[in-house]
Each structure stands twice: as structure tokens, then as C-alpha cells.
């Protein structure tokens, strides 16, 4: 019987075949297109920013950054991020929790609402706040009577930033929380844990990586936001200008060197954010895979 199953060895190696395999030149073409696109539209501009910023030397670069108004803009940007990001951390977590763990009427509507800041132009969202809180706005007279300044001041800029960056944390959390369901929370309840303990010992650790990504993205956007903040800021130098607004002013005044210096700082922030994200993914790759089966 044994000699009935002789298989002739293949004379030459069979070409590797896979169901989704494309021809070699197609693959190369696709890769080339992607690389050229990335180089010309992302890497080149980024490099230009840094070259322009440093064109007149390192001394001029730091001089531009330590200008009084510019320094104030950097401070304001950080302050807004420090307020807006924790707000959205809490809001995003609450919204994701509600959507993923409970069934209620209007859930679909709430999900759509969370996406709204992504689909509305930032300028429009800035204008909404002007309409609400501006001198001629709905609450304008009331606010003026009580001497509260929202528009053209820090509160308005924080509100606009919170609005624009709201979806980042929630969007990152909802899918992972939905996938995990409420089983582990139920187990924790049956083991006698209280609500807060369940949150801090079970729910939060299970979403901590998604939460971190959401916060990083939210932070990057909060610092870089231009449109909405521009509308409510009033552009008072040294007072209500954030970094993106300061860049525009400097650029319009032909202070290219200074404009690029501040721009390089913003770009640097974005790169650092990306680097942190990549580092965390690399450092905790095994752990993340074991715990979330995502990312």
C-alpha cells in the first residue's frame, strides 16, 4: 500500500500563492504611492517648519520664543489644555460608560451627539459660544450685569476647546467598553465590591490604555485648536492668544522666523505625543494584547 502514495517532489519551488496576494508590481506601486504621499505631504512640511525656525540660528530661535507675548501664548495654551483635557477625561469616561454599560432610550442619539464636534466646523462651534455668551448673545445681558466675562477671555476659550475635543476620549473608549460588557463588573458586585471600588479596580484598569490614547489625542488637539478658539479669543496680545493664534499674528506681520519658531514648538508637541504613544505600545505590547485584544 505504501508505494501507492508516492508524491513526486516539485522540481522547482512553487510560487507562493495566497488568496489575497497581488502581483509583485502592484504591491510595489501601492507602497511607492503611499511613501511618496507621506514624504511630500507630511514629512516635507514638518522638516520645513524646523528648518525655517532655525534658519537664523539657535539664538534667534530662543529669542523669538522668549518674547513676552509669545511666552504668554505658550502659557495660555498649556493652561487651556490643563483645564480642558481633564474635563473631557471625565465627560468622555462618563459618556462611554453610559453608552457601553446601560440600555436606555435615545442611546443612538447620544452617540450621534458625541460625534457632532467632529462634523461641525470649529468656526461654527466658536460662533455658537459667541451667540450664547457674547455681549449681544442670549446670556450676554445677564453676564454683563454680574460682571462675568466669558467671550474674549479664558472661560470662552476653554469652553470652545472642550467642545471641539470632546469626542476623542469617548470615541476611544466606547468600542472597547462595549466589547468588554458588564460581566466583570457583575462578578465584582457578587464578590461584595462597592461601586467606587469596582470602578477603580475593575472598569478603569480594563480601559486604561484606550483612555491614555484618548487623552493624548485630546491633548494634541486641545493645544493645536485654531478655528473655534480664534472666534472666541478676541486676539488680545499677551492675554487671549494661544500658540496657534500667535503663529498667525506673527506670520501676518511678516515675522516668519518667530512664526516658525512657535510652529516648531507645536509640531514638537505633536511629535512627542506620537512618540509617547508608540513607546507605550512597544513597551506594553504583550500586556495590551493579553488584556484588550485590541490595538
Amino acid at each position: 500500500m505504501a508505494d501507492a502514495v508516492v508524491v513526486a517532489p516539485p522540481s522547482r519551488p512553487l510560487p507562493r500563492i495566497s488568496a489575497t496576494g497581488e502581483k509583485r508590481w502592484v504591491r510595489r506601486l501601492l507602497i511607492a504611492v503611499a511613501v511618496v504621499f507621506l514624504l511630500s505631504f507630511i514629512v516635507l512640511p514638518l522638516v520645513t517648519v524646523f528648518i525655517e525656525a532655525l534658519r537664523t540660528g539657535i539664538g534667534a530661535y530662543f529669542a523669538a520664543l522668549s518674547d513676552r507675548d509669545t511666552f504668554a501664548a505658550i502659557q495660555l495654551t498649556l493652561l487651556i489644555a490643563v483645564i480642558a483635557v481633564p474635563c473631557n477625561l471625565v465627560f468622555g469616561l462618563a459618556a462611554a460608560w453610559a453608552i457601553a454599560k446601560f440600555e436606555f432610550r435615545g442611546k443612538g442619539f447620544l452617540i450621534t451627539l458625541i460625534d457632532l464636534p467632529f462634523s461641525v466646523s470649529p468656526v461654527t462651534s466658536g460662533l455658537i459660544y459667541v451667540l450664547l455668551f457674547g455681549a449681544q448673545g442670549w446670556f450676554g445681558p445677564f453676564l454683563q450685569a454680574h460682571n462675568i466675562q466669558i467671550i474674549f477671555a479664558l472661560p470662552g476659550m476653554v469652553l470652545a476647546t472642550v467642545f471641539v475635543t470632546f469626542p476623542f476620549v469617548a470615541r476611544e473608549l466606547i468600542p472597547i467598553m462595549e466589547e468588554q460588557g458588564t460581566r466583570e463588573e457583575e462578578a465584582a458586585v457578587s464578590l461584595g465590591a462597592s461601586g467606587w471600588r469596582i470602578f477603580f479596580r475593575v472598569t478603569l484598569p480594563n480601559v486604561k490604555w484606550a483612555l491614555l490614547y484618548g487623552v493624548l489625542l485630546c491633548n494634541a488637539r486641545a493645544m493645536g485648536e485654531f478655528g473655534a478658539v480664534s472666534v472666541v479669543s478676541g486676539h488680545i496680545r499677551g492675554k487671549t492668544n494661544t500658540m496657534p493664534l500667535q503663529i498667525e499674528i506673527l506670520y501676518n506681520e511678516y515675522a516668519y522666523n518667530a512664526a516658525f519658531a512657535v510652529a516648531s514648538l507645536l509640531a514638537l508637541l505633536a511629535l512627542v505625543t506620537l512618540a509617547i504613544k508608540t513607546f507605550l505600545e512597544w513597551r506594553f505590547a504583550g500586556e495590551i494584547a493579553a488584556r484588550t485584544r485590541r490595538h
Binding site: 460581566r183 466583570e184 457583575e186 462578578a187 465584582a188 458586585v189 457578587s190 464578590l191 461584595g192 465590591a193 462597592s194 471600588r197 479596580r201 475593575v202 484598569p205 480594563n206 493579553a290 488584556r291
Partner: protein, 387 residues
Amino acid sequence: MDARLINEESFAAAGERMPAPVQSAWGAPVDVTVEDVVRVFGETPALHGVSLAIKSGELVALLGPSGSGKTTLLRILAGLDFPDAGRVMFGGDDAAGLTVQQRNVGFVFQSYALFRHMRVFDNIAFGLSVRPSVRRPAKDEIRRRVLELLKLVQLDGLDQRYPSQLSGGQRQRVALARALAIEPRILLLDEPFGALDAKVRRELRRWLREIHDQTGHTTVFVTHDQEEAIELADRIVVLNNGAIEQVGTPDEIYDNPASPFVASFIGESNALPVVAEHGHLLLDDRALDLTGQPGASGPKTLVFRPHHVDVLGTRPGGIAGSVISERRHGAVRRLEVEISASHYRIEVDVRADEPKSKKGDRISILPNRWWLFDDTGPALPQAAVKS
């Protein structure tokens, strides 16, 4: 050191930190009573008026097909779901007034629901470490107990693994150890072996029985597998369509089913529509040679098991039909027989050493053990479906 000793020691250790009145109730197995519990999801009632008494130390199976309300009942016992009417009593206390902590119920979930970000050790320690500080054992004490439990569930040395690094059977045992760690008064298991393959399932089944005998917990488990219920449970509660069909020992349920549903769900059975008239049972207008008290006249359901039949030969008064198929069924031959007049099909077992039958052979049989139910019409078993 055997497990019973371990357990009593841990009770004592817990007692030291406890005020005296609580101590008496803590961890001690307790009678659980369910009184007229109703639960409605939207429009559909999942449970209507279920009453049940579970004695302390018992091992009880809730058995039923999917959608019978067995898991709902278990979740209500655990305090993870709440009855719309009726009440659950733990000892003398109405469970509605008890917090989950006071109920002190160990729950093993169908999908285990282990904390995926915690190591096995922390999973098992969770219930102890989240106690309020007055009742929380010291760190060393928690550690000692977790290691003991790991030994009990035969997972020594795996305490630093993550759940994702364990096999299904190992996860199941971690889930059990985690539930046992809080020294529950009652242990509830939802389809505990549902997701495991047949071999692991059988092993764990025997092992769960041993753990129960060692620790003496009141244990309630849900299953749809009648074999599992019969092998494991002291008493079986058969549920169907949100109501209890029968409660009894495996023997009682198997030998004296209370309804055609129970007869078909636990073990195999045939059901035939018959009519009681003047003390006789008529099948297709012909009297069957069955002695007994058919009770009031009217339509009835005759239920019997395939192996409770005699082959009659030429004697009249039997259930006559022709053989449709024949196959070997363990120690016997299983015949599928189509009844001549009505075309109902039944299954009967004949001795393997009798001559083989062919398709179309005529045969007449009579059950030697059978049950008669008033025809209420629910859930006739497969064998009696008209072909």
C-alpha cells in the same frame, strides 16, 4: 491538611475580626426560600410564580431548556437581578433588604468573567481585599487563604498567570476559587461546564461534587444538560417556560416524571395521544392491554421509555406498527416504529441477541412501565411528532 479543615480554620480566622452577632451568620450555609417569584422582561415573563425551598448544604440543579428561566432564577438568588413580585428569603431574612455583601453569595459565571487585567492570585484575593477595612483580613492572611484555595482547585503554582494564559478548565477553577474565597453562604454556578469539552467536563463535574462534599456549601447550579444534573445534584428542579415542572431527586424525576415534558427532557421517552374510556385506554380506537386506573374519561397522553417495552408477538392489545429503521444503541437495538393506523413514530429498545429486524417488519409492543397524563398539550417529545 484536608479541605474541610482549611475551611473551618478560615471561618475561625474571619470570626476573630467580626463583631459577635454577625459571626453566627457569617459563612454558615443557610436555607434559601423562593416564594412566588415573578420576573418580566419587557412583555415576556421569564418567571411566573416560582416557589422553591433549598435546604442548607444541598446541591441543587436548575435544569431546563434555554429560555426556561433557570438563569434568571439564579441571578435573582445572587442579587444580580430582582423579582417583580414575590420574595427570596435567606434564612429568616428577606433578601430584598440585604445588600450583596450581606447576602454573601458566591457566583460562578458561565463565561467565568475573570478580571482579565489581574493575575490569578489577585483574582482570587479580590473578594477579600475589597472588604471594608474592619472586616478585611490582613495581607498575610489573604495570601495564605488564596494559596490554600489554589491548592483546593489544584492550580498550585499558577498564581502569577493572567487569565488569558490559562486553559478553559483552569479558568473555570479560578472562577470557582474566587467565588469560594469570600466564604459564601451559598454557591451559585451558571452553566459551569458549558464551554468545556466533554472530557474536561466530566472531570470537573466529579471534582465539583468532591469540593461540595468537602466544604458543605449550599450549592445551586444551572444546566441544560440532564446527564450533568443527574450525575451531580442531590435534587433537580426542572424548569420549562418560566415555571417549575417538577422538583425531586434524580431517581424521583427519572422514575416518576410529573409531566410529558419532564419525561422527555430527562431521559428518552415516547408520547402517544390516547383516549380513556370506561376504564380502558384506546389508541386509534383500539383498546390497549394495559392494566391500571386511567382515571376520568377523555384525551390523555401515554408516556413510556424506549427500554420499558415488551415485544408481544401475535398477542392482541399491543401497539402495532412497522419497523422504519434499526440501529445499535449500546447494549440494545433501537427500533424506530411507525404505528400503522396513525403514522405516529415511537422508539423502542429490543435485546441485541434477538434476531435483527428489517425495514417493514411488523411488530407489536406494549410498555411494561408507563405514565398517563391528562392531555394539556405542551411540548410533546420528538418521538411522537406525527410524520
